[in-house]
């Protein structure tokens, strides 16, 4: 599906020329590449793409992938190969807060479908859709290793567990009032359990 979505995009030379990551991100990328033996810095590609995604409004465009390839001294196709394989890379724009609800067995057995239905009604979007204000995207994902605290959802780095309607209301309100994008790489989060 992502390959198709990618194929329908134009590669925009101007957009590409204007991409510039923050100094902090560039330093992080440089340090990540040093973690591997001589000549093996391609190993850093997965973590680098997480940084790139956080720098690019939560998704990887063809232009961003090309930029990453240049930073790492590899071919853009190598970047695309990886970006299109892993489920945490978005190859299409998403909302600021992507609500990823676990849909696998243990969560299902404890009401994951009700969670999806509730969010869907509350935000008036279906699975895979984004609210018109660009704030929320609803997605279902496979087991997130939180089966003992089911049902649950992830948003950026945050795990929200043992969900109830009241908890969902509260987290959506909080995200709305914060108004910021939630990235996997957000540093200040530790699970509060």
């Amino acid at each position: 599906m992502s390959a198709h979505a990618h194929g329908t995009q134009h590669f925009d030379e101007t957009k590409r020329a204007n991409i510039k990551f923050s100094a902090e991100a560039l330093t992080t990328i440089e340090n990540l590449m040093k973690r591997y033996p001589e000549g093996k810095s391609k190993s850093a590609l997965l973590p680098v793409l997480h940084v790139a995604q956080a720098e690019s409004e939560g998704w990887l465009s063809a232009e961003v992938m090309d930029y990453v390839a240049e930073l790492m001294g590899i071919q853009s196709i190598e970047v695309f190969e990886v970006a299109s394989f892993y489920s945490m890379y978005n190859l299409r724009p998403i909302g600021k807060c992507q609500l990823e609800v676990c849909r696998t067995s243990s969560c299902w057995a404890r009401g994951a479908e009700d969670v999806v239905d509730y969010i869907s009604k509350k935000l008036n979007i279906k699975e895979g859709e984004t609210t018109t204000d660009g704030m929320f995207t609803l997605k279902t994902v496979e087991c997130l290793g939180s089966c003992g605290s089911a049902p649950m959802l992830q948003c950026g780095a945050e795990y929200h567990e043992n969900l109830t309607e009241a908890k969902i209301d509260a987290l959506i309100d909080r995200y709305r009032s914060e108004g910021t994008r939630k990235n996997y790489t957000d540093l200040n989060y530790t699970n509060s359990k």
């Binding site: 067995s105 243990s106 057995a109 496979e142």
Partner: protein, 453 residues
């Protein structure tokens, strides 16, 4: 009270900081290993302990370590598998979050035993916040001289890094993990060569699960013989069990191998019984890849013996009437859960997670998912049930990695033990039309145990 080796101090506040961890005796195994033992002696202790891989396959760890090739001038690697994506499994996350230094300590001691000077912890991308906890702990360990150059003045050097993945169950398979760690798609490699000969960057590599590596700490501290005293037969030591599903107390429990399954499910020390006063219908005792057991085969084996939490007892009866300990992802289902729905749910998972290299898996998992979906919706026919059995047989054993088997087994087992429920979906389509059928009233009563010959 069951003995604990890994979660002994898990409720101590700030255990994740190095000072608190040290005050509880942390890093003693590194001192002992580096100053008083040779790498060979450590491998010997691990062999004596009888420790078996906690990632799912249960391969003896000491033996795996002794297979590691040691050509001159070629680096060796230890890679910790923290991918933990098997549905129903969340013990590694718990351990790393509560007690990151235990894993780091295990990594240092094990790396020394294997002669590795660079080691990696590959953690699933969704656990990003856990990777931060680990990185903070690693920085502390460097600052206190447990990592880096010339550790404890012994001349031993070790660098330890955390690598985050990006969402792919297949990267838990060790060769896919190595591909991913090299910055590629997670396509499993053809074995042989095994990683012990040609692993990361083509160099000899050991891949071990988080819990396996953590268990090396008590083994080195107390000796392999002490460890082997816990448990029964070839299932030694303690095991972390991730308990989930319709039970009163889901969570991670450290058990001594050999606890009766009945005690595990029903005693207040562990799962605390079935939630909401319902009956148990089925149990998947070792993560989504292992065969499902109907209630009458959960606590007793087919021959009427008590089933125990060990590798051997859980697989007693083979695939006909047994299951597997697997990764210890213990999922319990109550009488309101529909087995057909659940089997569809698992097969959707495997279809989604197939890497796509091998046709039987790529096509077969999708086909199974579609057939199960139509059965689940009351739109299937009786032939579909046998078609599923056929399909499962055609996938099993015909793929590069065991993901195909993992997708096939649950389907085959569900049909073997719950064929009546699949037939019910064909015979009474109107009863299963509601997409959440079963949740309000049981789809059909839990079947009494058949009389065994």
């Amino acid at each position: 009270m069951s003995r604990k080796l890994l979660l002994t101090h898990d409720n101590v506040p700030n255990l994740h900081t190095i000072d608190v961890y040290r005050s509880k005796g942390g890093y003693a195994s590194v001192e002992k290993a580096l100053k008083k033992m040779t790498p060979e002696e450590i491998v010997e202790e691990v062999k004596k302990s009888g420790l078996r891989g906690r990632g799912g396959a249960g391969f003896p760890t000491g033996m795996k370590w002794s297979f590691l090739a040691k050509p001159e001038g070629v680096p060796r690697y230890l890679v910790c598998n923290a991918d933990e994506s098997e549905p129903g499994t969340f013990k590694d996350r718990y351990l790393m979050e509560r007690n990151p230094h235990l894993l780091i300590e295990g990594m240092i001691t094990s790396s020394f035993a294997l002669g590795a000077n660079t080691s990696y912890i590959y953690i699933r991308g969704e656990y990003f916040y856990v990777s931060r906890i680990l990185e903070t702990a690693i920085a502390e360990a460097y600052a206190k001289g447990w990592l880096g150059k010339n550790i404890l003045g012994t001349g031993y050097n070790l660098d330890l890094y955390v690598q985050v993945g990006a969402g792919a169950y297949i990267c838990g398979e060790e060769t896919a993990l190595l591909e991913s760690l090299e910055g590629k798609r997670g396509n499993p490699r053809i074995k042989p060569p095994f990683p012990a000969i040609a692993g990361l960057y083509g160099c000899p590599t050991v891949v071990n699960n988080v819990e396996t590596i953590a268990a090396v700490v008590p083994i080195v501290n107390d000796g392999g013989d002490e460890y082997a005293k816990i448990g029964i037969g070839r299932s030694t030591g303690t095991k972390l069990i991730s308990a989930s599903g319709n039970i009163n107390k889901p969570g991670v429990y450290e058990i001594e191998m050999g606890v009766p399954v009945e005690e595990f499910i029903f005693s207040d020390q562990y799962c605390g019984g079935i939630a909401n006063g319902k009956r148990m219908k089925a149990c998947v005792p070792g993560g989504s890849s292992v065969p499902i057991l109907p209630d009458y085969l959960v606590c007793k084996t087919a021959t009427g013996e008590d089933r125990l939490m060990t590798y051997e007892s859980l697989s007693d009866g083979g695939f006909a009437t047994g299951s597997m300990l697997g990764s210890g992802g213990f999922i319990v289902y109550d009488e309101h859960q529909c087995v057909v729905r659940n089997t569809w749910n698992f097969s959707r998972f495997y279809h989604h997670e197939s890497c796509g290299q091998c046709s039987p898996c790529r096509e077969g998992t999708g086909w199974m998912e579609r057939v199960l979906h139509r059965l689940e919706k009351g739109m299937g026919n009786m032939n579909d049930i046998d078609l599923l059995v056929e399909l499962a047989k055609k996938i099993e054993g015909n793929t590069i990695c065991p993901l195909g088997d993992a997708a096939a087994w649950p389907v085959a087992a569900a049909i073997k033990h719950f064929r009546h429920e699949f037939e019910y979906h064909v015979l009474y389509p109107e009863k299963v039309k509601d997409s959440k059928h079963g949740h309000k009233e049981p789809i059909m009563p839990v079947k009494p145990a058949p009389v065994m010959a």
